[in-house]
Amino acid sequence: MTTDVSGLTRVRADRVRGIAVGLRHLRGPLLPILHAVQRDLGYIDAVDVPVIADVLNLSVAEVHGVVTFYHDFRRGPGGRVMVRVCRAEACQAVGAEALAEHATRRLGVGFGGTTADAAVTLEETFCLGNCALGPSVQVDERVHGRVSPARLDALLAEAGR
């Protein structure tokens, strides 16, 4: 089986361009475009940057600068499930650091890492707005409260780990 790399790149570039063209009428369209690219394609690839820059008439450096400034934007593929452990003060007050340690040990990756089977990307986050029911963990878009290590294991099991 051969993969037509340049073909795939072209397909991706077309999709990115389509997203950018579809949103460029907004005021301050760059963040909405980057969110949309990441939602549809999983991450912002280096090859996406000149495409977006071209559509918005910005320099490549400007777009690159924005992508790298914000914690949310991934520059490579992540796992199938995103697990974010809150490590801010209110969750620390109820054991977030022990939970964070448990998570890294259980998954065998550090924060920012993805498990070898690409099931889970583990990230740290600072407050999910669930500070009265910590420790809090976000699995994809859903927040879970009062997450004990055992509860985290159950959530990870649901995520295929």
Partner: protein
Amino acid sequence: MTGPVRVFVPRDSAARSVGADAVAERIRAVAGREVEVVRTGSRGMLWLEPLVEVATPAGRVGYGPVAPEDVDGLVAAGLLDGRGESLGLVEDLAWMRRQQRVTFARVGVVDPRSAADFEAHGGCAGLRAALAKSPAEVVEEVVESGLRGRGGAGFPTGVKWRTVLGAAADVKFVCCNADEGDSGTFADRMLIEGDPFTLIEGMTIAAYAVGAREGYVYVRSEYPDAVVALEAAIALARERGWLGERVLGSDLAFDLHVRVGAGAYICGEETAMLESLEGKRGMVRAKPPIPALAGLFGRPTVVNNVLSLASVPAILADGAAAYAALGTGRSRGTSVFQLGGNVARGGIVETPFGITLGELVNDLGGGTASGRPVRAMQVGGPLGAYVPVSQFDLPMDYEAFAEAGAMLGHGGVVVFDDTVDMAAMARFAFSFCAKESCGKCTPCRVGSVRGVETIDRIRAGVDREKNLVLLDELCELMTDGSLCAMGGLTPMPVRSAVRYFDEDFEGAS
């Protein structure tokens, strides 16, 4: 009684985080008769979540916390008729009676996806009252109410609006800061999820008052449920003519858009937020010019916190005097405090300013969740001071806190028990600043990294005295030399930790 029984189960993401969706589903499944399950916001009694309420002729009867597996038994015991082991009438619960809900009056009560419910509970009254006045009169009403910004700095909202009204420009904007990055705060989120129309109403009043046609709400990406709730409400508001070319049939044209942040704490700082809205890196701008004169895309812009804007409809509906009659000193009206961390009864407490920290944490909060003694409270987010229990008597009031070397900030109170290591918390303050600094100025960018190293040395027992002096100098440098409060206030948690909990800085234990 006629019609289906009305059962209320919060859709608030905190309630969902402990199983509210499964509870709602189970109630529908086992009711055995016609029920209408209304997904409300949360009342803010978060330790009782999932809190189920049932409409009865006497009022709404509460049950909580309800686990999904409790539902069958509760329904069998008569939950749908308000019978069985309940909490009683929710409005009569001590926690609710202690409060005075103005900004949060409808949160937890109404269906946030229903414009009709909003109107039936007094919605739009403030906007109607505003449209009957001149823009300048609206501004003066807000000035007279004494409302100060709830985002942290406490600047008088009406005075800010007066500046924007007075600025001549082709285009003006109203921007709502819903970045709510502070740990221990969740009131913005709960208001948006539980009563989004009130925020829309407040922003529309602001637009009328200053002459803006376009508004933006900058919501942090950590709040996907809030984004969905707000977008749904905006769509309904447009359908109803509450937004659009002729708001409520008047000459006012105003429309509103949601923008989602991308995980950067500094974008809560208003000028960084404006940069981000413009599609740039969230770098803090030097002031002047102030955003009121040169804000979004260089145009005069109102930037206000969610709670500031959401307090405006009640002020217009009931008059500035009624709002100003509440509170203490120069802190007028009510404030929405948030109890979090290691606290037995965490959640939302809306009361007039002036309630003491101890009343909040002990009377309402019930002390720690762990049952151990309270040792420290961090008030006002990651840039706020750590306060010892000897200051339980401190009234929640901007000036009283400032005098005590602390700040109210966005009203978050995070409780710690006696197992907390305050040197570790001071270290965290620096490392958070190092992570989230926008990098524009050296005292913040470099100072925070130095701070982490210095505390590490103190904790390791290396040259303790010398390093404590160094730490103090570093704090001084950051306080004096930082462009914004990120670098400028990080010393506040650090210094308060050293001052009140110096035994934790003894080193090598």
